[in-house]
């Protein structure tokens, strides 16, 4: 899956779980500060992403995922 495809899938997950408008999701955005995804929502986003991309995102890794780009990088590496 390309970075672009991952971004678009993540945008869909963020919309489904947290109601973030897909058009607002770009690689440079911070989950918490820009997209207002709180910590409980982030758990749900991570679970949905694990299902979608077939990867495992360990808890200790989640706190390093500050921006959407961080998540994309992790998923690309883990796939």
């Amino acid at each position: 899956m390309t970075e672009e495809q991952i971004l678009s899938e993540l945008a869909e997950i963020l919309n489904e779980v947290a109601g973030v408008e897909a058009s607002k999701v770009s690689a440079d955005k911070s989950f918490l500060d820009d997209l207002e995804v709180d910590s409980l929502s982030m758990v749900e986003v991570v679970m949905a992403a694990e299902d979608k991309f077939g990867v495992k995102i360990p808890d200790e890794e989640v706190k390093n995922l500050r921006t959407v780009q961080d998540a994309i990088n992790f998923i690309v590496k883990a796939q």
Partner: protein, 409 residues
């Protein structure tokens, strides 16, 4: 002179309507909301009938908010929002806005759903919102957040007396000057295989599966148990001075409340109605009224063989010969038993009956039980006298909880 508590807003979502207006019109017309449960999960159950809300909550709530609520909270929020809007969505100090909102069972649908996910997909797939969705105060907390209530958010739990107790709690909050406005009521949504099986195991439910509409028949000789229902009701209770100062529409007043406990059995009502009659007496004393003032009673009347008689005895003990002047109605004949939502939904019926001088119709009364000699509101015989100004709503719950609310206009 103590504070008077006005009712300035009403909201409901029930098996006979998606809002107050629809629910009320069907209650007057005697249209039943009891249906056969066609779901796969209901197959083979002893009881396969229920009063079901047909409005899809996702059509009226924000999707993202709704997916973080158990169905019981969804229905509660829908009722609260309607009541709030009906009250004119007052702009008030949030420190003076309270919530008293309960549920008898809580988020059981979510418990079951997440349990299945845990078993089938693993413990690490359990939704992080599970706890806030299943905690018994979930509906109260969510309603509180919806409107930013900060005076205090409370959630009594007393089985089928829950939302009546919540309304009594709201009354006290305003009388004690803890709040000017309280959103009070309750909700229930536990039509699932576990809850229906569990109530059926108690032999509490009607098993008239082939005639759903005829199954809930309070006071009728052929009654064989209650019919489960789901739904919610919400009242906006408001300090009368506060309501008048902002020019609010006033439906009537919550004049008093009485609460007692049977101290008898975890599920069965005390058969002589002693505990329940004390709740009725206390409510009248609290309202500074007497039995001769009462024109109408919305009875708890669940359609169980024992419960309906115990309540009759309680009413007779409390009101004596004055009971013969009262028009009694049993709305569970139409809605089924909304459990934690019942007291609130039936309070709305009571308030509207006084306001319109017309009581909801008791359905399925074909052969009235001679052990329950009361005047029952039935089709074309549901008018209240023009001077009717006091009505009671009874609610009782497993555990021996008894609540009586007094409404006036």
């Amino acid at each position: 002179m103590s504070t008077r508590v006005a009712i300035t807003g009403l909201g409901a979502i029930t098996p006979i309507g998606a809002n107050v207006n629809e629910t009320w019109n069907n209650a007057l017309a005697g249209n039943s909301g009891i249906v056969k449960l066609g779901d796969e999960w209901a197959e083979g159950l002893a009881a396969q009938i229920a009063g079901r809300v047909t409005q899809d909550p996702y059509e009226v709530l924000d999707r993202v908010q709704a997916r973080r609520m158990d169905r019981s909270t969804q229905l509660g929020v829908i009722a609260a929002k309607e009541a709030w809007k009906d009250a004119g969505a007052p702009e008030i100090e949030l420190e003076r806005l309270g919530v008293h909102f309960g549920t008898g069972i809580g988020g059981l649908n979510t418990v079951i759903e997440q349990y299945e996910i845990m078993i089938n997909r693993g413990a690490d797939r359990v939704n992080p919102m599970t706890v806030p969705m299943i905690m018994p105060n979930s509906a109260a907390a969510t309603v509180g957040l919806q409107f930013g209530a900060r005076a205090g958010v409370h959630s009594p739990v007393s089985a089928c007396a829950t939302s009546a107790e919540a309304i009594a709690g709201g009354l006290e909050m305003i009388r004690n000057n803890k709040a000017d406005v309280v959103i009070a009521g309750g909700t229930e949504a536990c039509l699932n295989r576990l809850a229906v099986s569990a109530f059926a195991a108690m032999k509490a439910l009607s098993t008239r599966n082939n005639e759903p509409e005829k199954a809930s028949r309070p006071y009728d000789l052929a009654r064989d148990g209650f019919v489960m229902g789901e739904g919610a009701g919400a009242l906006i209770l408001e300090n009368e001075n506060h309501a008048k100062a902002r020019g609010a529409k006033i439906y009537g007043y919550l004049a008093g409340a009485g609460m007692s406990a049977d101290g008898y059995h975890i599920a069965a009502p005390e058969p002589e109605g002693a505990g329940a009659s004390r709740a009725i007496n206390q409510a009248l004393i609290d309202a500074d009224l007497s039995s001769s003032d009462v024109a109408h009673i919305n009875a708890h009347a669940t359609s169980t063989p024992v419960g309906d008689i115990a309540e009759y005895k309680a009413m007779r003990r409390a009101l004596g010969a004055d009971l013969d002047q009262v028009l009694v109605t049993a709305t569970k004949s139409l809605t089924g038993h909304l459990l934690g939502g019942a007291g609130a939904a039936e309070s709305i019926f009571t308030i509207l009956a006084l306001a319109n001088k017309q009581a909801p119709v008791t359905f399925n009364l074909e052969n009235q039980d001679p052990k329950i000699p009361v005047n029952v509101s039935i089709k074309n015989k549901n008018q209240l006298p023009d001077n009717a100004r006091v009505a009671l709503n009874n609610s009782f719950g497993f555990g021996g909880h008894n609540v009586c609310l007094v409404f006036t206009n």
